[in-house]
C-alpha cells in the first residue's frame, strides 16, 4: 500500500491540517479507475442514460402507450409534431403512431432495471453459495458443486427460451409475493400488475441461470483467502465463522466478483433484449429495446433509420458496461503498484 509523502507544512499556514494517512484501499482503486479514460467516459454515458430513465415520466412528452389514432401519425420522421396533441415527437413515431422517444426512455428504465435486478440477485446467490462452499468445504461444497455442474451443463439459450416461454406467458405459475410485484410496479411505472409479473418471472429465470459463474469464481477466491495468515490470526483471536467470513474473507475475495457483476450486467441486458426480440421475453405493450428492435426489422427497408433508434442506446450500454468492467479489473488488480 502506497503511503503518500507528507508535504512539509508551510510556515504561514495557520490552520493545522489533519495528519496525512495511508490511502485506503478504496481511494487507491478509485484513483486507478479514474485513470482509465474510456471507463470514465462510459460512466458518464451510463449516468446520462440512467438519469433519463429515472426521469422517464418527467422528460417524456407522451404517455408510455399513448398512440395517435390518425393514420397520418404513423411513421412520423424525427422532430415532427403530433397532429393530435401538438406534442413534439423527438424521434418520430412507430408503426402504430406511438412516440418512439417516450417508449425508448421507458424501455431503458425497464431493460436496465431488469438487468440490474437479475445481475444483483444472481451475484448475491453466487457469492453466498460460493463462499459457503469454499469456506466450509466438505459435504456443503460437494452439494453446491454438483448443483453448479448441473446448471453449467445446460444449453443456456434453449433452456432460457423454453423457461421464459412457459413462465412469461403464464406468470401466475410462480407465486411471487405481492410486495415484490408492488415494488416492481412502482419502479418500472407499470399500471398493470400483470406487466410486473412478467418482468418478475424474467428476472427470476435470469437469476436461476446466471448465478453459477459468480459462485465458481467466489469459491476459488475463498479457497485461496481462507489459507492466508490473517484468517488464521482471526481464528486464533477467537473469531467465529460468521465474523471471519463477513469481516475477513468476503472483503478480500470480493474484487473479482465486482468485475463479474459489471460484465454480468451486460450479459443480462443482452439476454433480456434477445428474448424480447424473439417475442418470448417481455412483450408489447411493455416497451423494451429488444421488442422495439423486432418491430423495426420489418420496416427497415423503407425507413433504415428506425433500427438505429433502439440499437444505439443498446450499443452504448453494452459497451459501457464492458469498459467499466475492464477499468475495474485493472483498478482492482493487486499486481498493479501505481
Amino acid at each position: 500500500m502506497a503511503i503518500t509523502a507528507i508535504k512539509p507544512q508551510k510556515e504561514n499556514e495557520k490552520a493545522r491540517k489533519p495528519l496525512a494517512r495511508a490511502d485506503t484501499q478504496f481511494t487507491i482503486v478509485a484513483r486507478r479507475f479514474r485513470r482509465h479514460r474510456l471507463a470514465m467516459v462510459s460512466l458518464l454515458v451510463l449516468g446520462a442514460i440512467f438519469t433519463a430513465s429515472i426521469l422517464a415520466k418527467q422528460i417524456s412528452p407522451f404517455e408510455r402507450d399513448y398512440l395517435n389514432v390518425e393514420s397520418a401519425a404513423k411513421f412520423l420522421p424525427p422532430l415532427s409534431t403530433s397532429p393530435e396533441t401538438g406534442g413534439m415527437h423527438w424521434l418520430g413515431t412507430n408503426q402504430i403512431g406511438q412516440d418512439l422517444f417516450t417508449r425508448l426512455v421507458y424501455a431503458a428504465r425497464i431493460s436496465l432495471t431488469t438487468a440490474i435486478l437479475a445481475t444483483t440477485f444472481s451475484t448475491l446467490v453466487g457469492t453466498i453459495l460460493g463462499t459457503l462452499g469454499g469456506y466450509f468445504r466438505g459435504v456443503i461444497d460437494a452439494v453446491i458443486q454438483r448443483v453448479i455442474d448441473f446448471f453449467s451443463n445446460l444449453p443456456t439459450l434453449p433452456i432460457l427460451l423454453i423457461l421464459t416461454a412457459v413462465l412469461v406467458t403464464d406468470p401466475r405459475l410462480i407465486p411471487i409475493p405481492t410486495f415484490v410485484i408492488k415494488f416492481l410496479q412502482a419502479i418500472m411505472l407499470f399500471d398493470q400488475e400483470r406487466e410486473a409479473r412478467v418482468v418478475a418471472a424474467l428476472i427470476l429465470i435470469l437469476t436461476l441461470l446466471g448465478w453459477t459463474g459468480v459462485a465458481r469464481l467466489m469459491r476459488g477466491q475463498v479457497l485461496q483467502v481462507r489459507e492466508r495468515d490473517f484468517v488464521e490470526g482471526a481464528r486464533a483471536l477467537g473469531a467465529n465463522s460468521l465474523a471471519i467470513i463477513t469481516r475477513h474473507i468476503v472483503p478480500n475475495a470480493f474484487p473479482p466478483v465486482i468485475v463479474a457483476f459489471t460484465l454480468g450486467l451486460a450479459s443480462s441486458l443482452t439476454a433480456e433484449t434477445s428474448l424480447s426480440f424473439l417475442g418470448i421475453g417481455i412483450q408489447n405493450p411493455i416497451p423494451t429495446w429488444g421488442n422495439m428492435l423486432a418491430f423495426t426489422q420489418s420496416y427497415m427497408f423503407e425507413r433504415p433509420y428506425l433500427p438505429l433508434i433502439p440499437a444505439f442506446p443498446m450499443f452504448l450500454c453494452s459497451v459501457a458496461f464492458n469498459f467499466i468492467g475492464d477499468g475495474l479489473r485493472d483498478a482492482l488488480d493487486p499486481r498493479q503498484t501505481k
Binding site: L157, V166, T169, S274, I280, Q297, P307, A311
Partner: protein, 397 residues
Amino acid sequence: MANFLIRRILAMIVMFLIITFVAYNVLSLAPGGPLQELQQQQQNNANRLDAFAFERVMVRYEFDIDLIPRYTRWLMGQPDGPLNLFGQEMFGATQVGCLRKGETIFKYPDGRVVVSDCEVPVYLNDLKGRAVSKGILALDFGTSQGVLRGRPVSEVLNSRIGLTLLLQGISSMLALAIAVPLGIYTAVKQYSKLDYATTTVAFLGSSLPSLFWGLMGLLVFAVLFKQWGLPYFPAGTFVSNTPQTVPLIGVIEPESFADRAWHLILPILILTFVSLSGWIRYIRASVLEVLKQDYVRTARAKGLSERAVILKHAVRNALIPFITLVVTILPGLVAGAIITETIFSLPGVGNLLVAAIYGSDYNVAMAVLLLSVVLTLIAYVLADILYTVADPRIRLR
C-alpha cells in the same frame, strides 16, 4: 482414465434424466397448448364440443396421465399396459392418472378449493392398446403437433438440421482459423498497430450480442448497399423466387448454388465475427499470461529461436484452457444460431425451436432441447479427455 470415463458417463445419464424430466414437465405446463385452444373455441362457441371430445384430446396428448408415467412413456414407451411378468399381468389396477378431475366441493373465500377425488381415474390397464411412441431412447421423438402437424419429429428435424450444421460448421471453422493465429500474433506483438486494431474490433464484437450485429449487418449490407447501388446481400428470404440482379456481380438465378451462397454469406459472416471476437480476446489474454512465465524466460535463455519459444513453449500451454471454449462448438451445431437464424429468416433448427415454442409443439421443442443437452454433455466430457491429450500433467482419475 477408464474409471473416470465410466463415472462421467454415469453422471451424464443422471443429468440427462433430470434435465429431460424437468424440461418435459415444464413444457407440459405451458399455456396455449391444444387443450387451451379447444377451451377457447368452446368459449367462442365456434365449434360446440362436448365433454367427451375434450377428453379425447386429453387422452391423445396424454394429459390424463401423471407426470412420471407420462415422462417414462415419452422416454422409452413404457408403461404401455399392465406389467407383464412370466405371462402374468400385474399391477393392472394401479392408478396412473386422472381423466376427469373431481368437482369442486367447497371454495374458501381466500381462493383455496376443496376438490373431491378423481372422478374418472386412469389405471395401468387403460393404457393397453393406446398409441405410444417407441420413446426417445429408441430415437423416436413422436409426432409434431404444431409446426408440421402429424409428421414425425425426426422428419421435421432432418429437414432443418442440414442448414444449421452448414452455418455453424463453416462459421466455427472460419472463426477458429482466424482467431488462433490472430490471437497469438496480437499477444506476441503487443501494442503494435495490428494489436490495437484487433483488440478494439474484438472488444466491440464481444461486448455486443449477435442480435445487434445481425441487425446492423442487415441494415448496412442488405438495405443501405441496395439503395446505394452496391453489391448487396438479400434480407428476409432463404431462396430467391425470381432472378436477382446484383450490381457488379450479375444476375443470380433462383435456387442455383450462387443463390444459396448469396443468402448464406452474411449470416455466416455475422456468426463468425461474434464467436471470433470472444476467442481472440481469450487467446490473446492467455498467451500474454504464459509469456510472462518463468519457463518461457528459461526457453529464451537457453538460446532457442523466438519461433520455437512461442510455438512450442508458450502457445502449447496457452491454448490448453481454450479447449473449454472450442468444445462449445459441438452443442452450438444444433441450437447455436437461434438469433441469427431468426434475423435472417433461415429455416434452421434455431428457427424451428422458436416456431415450436410459439406453436406449443412440445415434441419438436423437446427434441431440439434434447439434442443440445446431449451434445453439451458430450462436449464437456470431450473437453476433459482433450485436456489430458494436450497436457500430460493432467491425469484423470
